[in-house]
């Protein structure tokens, strides 16, 4: 079976490498912000969102109240709406409770691995999710424990952009795909330049996917 839980866990390998580096860095700053090991474990398993954890940590350090932190995290993670919607057709017919559990552990990185498949079996996705999730928690704890004495984990963190590049090449089919990737890249950079934050990827995705749809409709229109 190419679609079993262990196969999904194996497909998570590039994500695991990247999470080791980034999770370690997250653990270092969380510990420096005064969180206990139990709190770091709670944060990394229950919230389980890289950028949101960095934001929570830095806002706590600045003394921000929960009434400011929670809405910030909400808007930061709103981009998951698009990712979750894009996976839905590949998981149609799956019981709602299974999709709810799979969705809980959705991240940018597990999304890009999962979206390389036309159909997703829940067991495969669970393997992918659990491998990434447990790596993330362990890396956070390792960062907290080894803060100060380990070397620079940023080289491992480069596993994520390298994986994005690899998946991009593997997923590109036809000129429309290339156009979508280039448009989204340009839009993402422009938005990020004007308004650094979580909206760059959302805006770039809306623009890129719409360009793709327009190109596809235009090409498949009858030549009359």
């Amino acid at each position: 079976m190419k679609e079993s839980f262990p196969q999904g866990a194996r497909a998570a390998l590039p994500v695991v490498l990247g999470y080791l580096g980034i999770g370690f860095a997250a653990g270092v700053v969380e510990r420096a912000a005064g969180m206990s090991y139990a709190e770091i474990l709670l944060l990394s398993t229950v919230l389980y969102a890289g950028s949101a954890q960095f934001v929570v940590t830095s806002m706590l350090t600045l003394g921000a109240p929960a009434s400011a932190i929670v809405p910030t995290v909400f808007f930061l993670n709103l981009r998951h709406l698009l990712l979750s919607a894009a996976l839905a057709p590949r998981l149609s017919g799956v019981p709602a409770w299974k999709n709810a559990l799979l969705g809980l552990q959705l991240t940018d990185e597990t999304f890009v691995v999962a979206s390389a498949r036309e159909r997703i079996r829940p067991a495969w996705m669970a393997g992918l999710n659990v491998a990434a999730w447990s790596t993330w928690a362990l890396a956070n704890l390792a960062g907290a424990a080894l803060a100060g004495l380990a070397g620079d984990p940023r080289a491992l963190g480069f596993a994520l952009p390298a994986m994005f590049a690899g998946l991009l090449v593997l997923q590109l089919r036809g000129r429309a795909g290339v156009a979508v990737a280039v448009c989204a890249a340009a839009a993402g950079l422009a938005i990020q330049l004007l308004q650094p934050g979580p909206w760059a990827v959302v805006g770039a995705t809306l623009i890129g996917a719409t360009v793709g749809l327009a190109l596809k409709r235009w090409k498949s229109a009858p030549n009359s």
Binding site: M35, Y37, A38, E39, V46, L47, Y48, A49, V56, A66, V73, N77, H80, L81, L82, S84, A85, A86, A88, P89, L91, A96, N99, A100, G103, L104, L106, V112, L156, F158, A159, P161, A162, M163, A165, G166, L167, L168, V169, L172, A176, V180, A181, V182, C183, A184, A185, A186, G188, L189, Q192, L193, A200, V201, A204, T205, G208, A209, G212, R217
Partner: protein, 104 residues
């Protein structure tokens, strides 16, 4: 080794705010037959996300303004080349990380 009550409340509230956009579309949209144009639109989402994430990570490390650095540029170029040549994800990631580490 303890969890402050206000920290627990904060994490649970943040987790709920994160869970809703993660779960809701997947649960709701997987139950209906979506119109063809929406399926087509959604099919372009992964490539768009990948294009944007890769460009921002490599050209704007840290997320604020352009910063053209040799290590990420060379490593990502090598990753693209290896991916196109081998179509192997693990070889791509290994090449990218190794080159980034050597140059960084």
């Amino acid at each position: 080794m303890e969890i402050r009550p206000e920290f627990l409340t904060l994490v649970l509230a943040c987790a709920l705010a994160t869970a809703v956009p993660r779960v809701l579309p997947l649960v709701l949209l997987s139950r209906f037959a979506l119109p063809p144009w929406l399926l087509d639109w959604l099919s372009f989402v992964p490539v768009a996300v990948l294009g944007a994430l890769t460009a921002i990570e490599v050209l704007m490390p840290g997320g604020r303004g352009f910063a053209l650095q040799a290590a990420p540029l060379a490593a990502i170029a090598a990753a693209f080349a290896v991916a196109a040549w081998t179509r192997n994800l693990l070889a791509t990631v290994a090449t990218g990380v190794a080159l980034y580490w050597l140059l960084g």
